[in-house]
């Protein structure tokens, strides 16, 4: 910018003052443009009512041993699985196995509630919904790109980088959980 226009310098004006005005004007315009642009970008983020989506409560007596139920939470499927002793044993047995996202089975359920597994039912690869009972580890299998999860929902084989996520939840009583 400095000395950009020799004519003004020749005319007796102080060129640095004029430059200052130019820079200040451009900076103010850029700032104003960014201020206007931000609302146009941020409007695409979740709206107030979307964020205010209530948590869900679920009555566990509806799920028989060895079965699972899929409910919708924040637009995503939520798996609530009533695990059998064999499933729990298989999961604990593999705690020391080589895993991409190492976690013990203990860390994936609430203390003393090993039979209840609550998971967000979207594959951590690209978000498809895995199905139970398939794959090499008798847990979940994602049909989209072939990710295999074990009976604890841990990723064992395939492209997914993470275990099936455990949402924030709490037992309100022995038979009632609140998710979110």
């Amino acid at each position: 910018m400095a000395g950009a226009n020799p004519e003004h310098g020749a005319g007796g004006d102080d060129p640095s003052r004029r430059d200052f005005i130019h820079i200040a004007a451009v900076a103010a315009a850029a700032g104003a443009a960014a201020t206007v642009a931000w609302p146009l970008v941020d409007q695409m983020n979740p709206a107030g009512d979307t964020l205010a989506l209530a948590s869900v409560e679920f009555d566990l007596t509806k799920v028989e041993l060895g079965q699972s139920v899929t409910i919708k939470w924040r637009g995503k499927p939520l798996f609530i699985r009533h695990r059998t002793g064999a499933e729990i044993a298989a999961a604990i047995k593999d705690d020391k196995a080589d895993m991409r996202d190492p976690q013990t089975d203990e860390e994936r359920h609430k203390p003393g509630k090993a039979e209840w597994l609550v998971l967000i039912g979207t594959c951590t690869h690209l978000g498809c919904v895995p199905t139970f009972g398939g794959g090499d580890y008798a847990g979940w299998f994602c049909p989209c790109h072939g990710s295999h999860y074990d009976t604890s929902g841990r990723i064992r084989k395939g492209p997914a980088p993470k275990n099936l996520a455990v949402p924030e939840y709490a037992f309100l009583s022995d038979t009632l959980v609140k998710v979110g």
Binding site: T50, L53, G75, K76, P143, P159
Partner: protein
């Protein structure tokens, strides 16, 4: 090629207009008097066909938007209403849905033509890059349009594609949430996709104007790859290429109409006639045929981030192609070794498309048991995709740069006219040797 104009306004209105806004002069110079190499073959008619495709998609799309409802509870039903109740709605929708496929058939023919005849080389680098931008916009538009009917494939396709951005480190999750407008693909996502699906075609039209502008500065390439040397190498665009393009368009429309009227769902997935259910993913989820090669590349890589980067890289590499191919000879007619690699490249693209439509663990040769290499059976679609994807990248990043340094090309003709004239001189005397009829 540009600058000089032979337009002479004839009527008073034309003279009045020409002094104020010379739009008739622009049209005359662009599509009537524009000097065009006289040896363009039918591979060069896809530009005109593509312009028509864009026009058809715009016209049918604007009509469909008058009846479509962009809401998760009504979108699917509104499409069925268009199909059953709206007057000629079935026709307009089938034209639009098949029109997308026709658009991609034409654009792939156009791109392979450019690759074969070296149309991306100096001075046409910018012309090529603008074409790549159009292709990218077409892909975004087609993807968002496919989401609108809110069927099972629409929904889960949107889930998979938006989750691709989640592979980016640190910012991935914020970006997907921002794209969705929530915590999953839902009504806000459908709404914005509709808005953008309406906007992007007009952006395509804008870049098409730039594409044609760039074309008219440097002029057409041609099958010999030799630049125009004199007026004897060219013919005026009208009537020579208006008629040639017109004939090609008529043939193309025959194929288009055959799909629309006799097999309108042949290119689509029947699962998309099942309404979207966020709780159940279809057993076999695939994109539309025109995305299958890229989908195969995505699945070929066992790592999530690398898979996404490779898939986008497959398109990004096209943008830098003018600087990867170092050969000064444009047309592969005169580069026999590279030509052989080019045809293998075409096969690799087709193989990728084939693999993208199959399950990754499926055997390529049924019944043949082989051994497991790293994480999958060697006789599986995922390994076939890996070989084809490796060739895809090797063609651009290794073969073309290497061939530019080492290949000895065949002698090129002195000019566009020369091979025609020398050929006609060799024909027996008395034969009607009129080279201008061979264009």
């Amino acid at each position: 090629m540009s600058g000089h104009s032979n337009y002479v306004p004839k009527t008073g209105i034309e003279r009045w207009l020409d002094a104020r806004m010379p739009i008739v002069r622009l049209a005359y110079d662009s599509v009537v008097d524009f000097p065009t190499p006289k040896n363009l073959n039918y591979w060069y008619t896809f530009g005109g066909i593509l312009a028509l495709c864009l026009g058809i998609q715009l016209a049918t799309g604007i009509v469909l938007a008058m009846h479509y409802v962009p809401h998760v509870d009504h979108a699917f039903a509104s499409i069925e209403r268009i199909m059953r109740d709206v007057n000629y709605g079935w026709l307009v929708r089938y034209m639009h849905a098949n029109g997308a496929s026709m658009f991609f058939i034409a654009v792939y023919a156009h791109m392979f033509r450019g690759l074969y005849y070296g149309s991306y080389k100096a001075p046409r680098e910018l012309l090529w890059i603008l074409g790549c931008v159009i292709y990218l916009l077409m892909m975004a538009t087609a993807f968002m349009g496919y989401v609108l009917p809110w069927g099972q494939m629409s929904f889960h396709g949107a889930v998979v594609i938006t989750n691709l951005f989640g592979a980016l480190p640190v910012v991935g999750e914020s970006i997907t949430t921002w794209l969705w407008g929530g915590f999953a693909v839902d009504n806000p996502t459908l709404n914005r996709f509709f808005s953008l699906h309406y906007l992007l075609p007009f952006m395509i039209a804008g870049v098409v104007v730039l594409h044609i502008w760039a074309l008219h500065v440097v002029g057409n390439n041609n099958p010999t790859g030799v630049e125009v040397k004199s007026k004897a190498d060219t013919v005026p665009f009208h009537p020579y290429y208006t008629v040639k393009d017109g004939f090609a368009i008529a043939v193309f429309l025959l194929m288009f109409a055959a799909f629309v009227f006799f097999n309108p769902n042949a290119l689509g997935d029947p699962v998309n006639y099942v309404p979207a259910n966020p709780l159940v993913t279809p057993a076999h989820i695939v994109p539309e045929w025109y995305f299958l090669p890229f989908y195969a590349i995505l699945r070929a890589v066992p790592d999530k981030l690398m898979g996404v980067l490779m898939m986008f890289g497959a398109i990004a590499v096209l943008f830098v192609l003018p600087w990867l191919d170092r050969s000064r000879v444009k047309s592969l007619r005169y580069r026999p070794t590279t030509r052989m690699y080019f045809f293998i490249f075409v096969v690799a693209c087709l193989v990728l498309g084939y693999c993208g439509g199959k399950l990754p663990d499926e055997h390529v040769i049924p019944g043949l048991s082989t051994f497991t290499l790293f994480d999958a059976d060697l006789n599986s679609m995922v390994w076939l995709s890996r070989f084809a994807a490796a060739y895809y990248f090797a063609y651009f990043l290794v073969i073309l740069p290497w061939m530019g340094l080492t290949e000895t090309p065949l002698p090129q003709p002195e000019s566009i006219s020369e091979p025609v004239l020398s050929h006609s001189a060799a024909t027996p005397a008395g034969a009607a040797a009129s080279p201008e009829k061979r264009g």
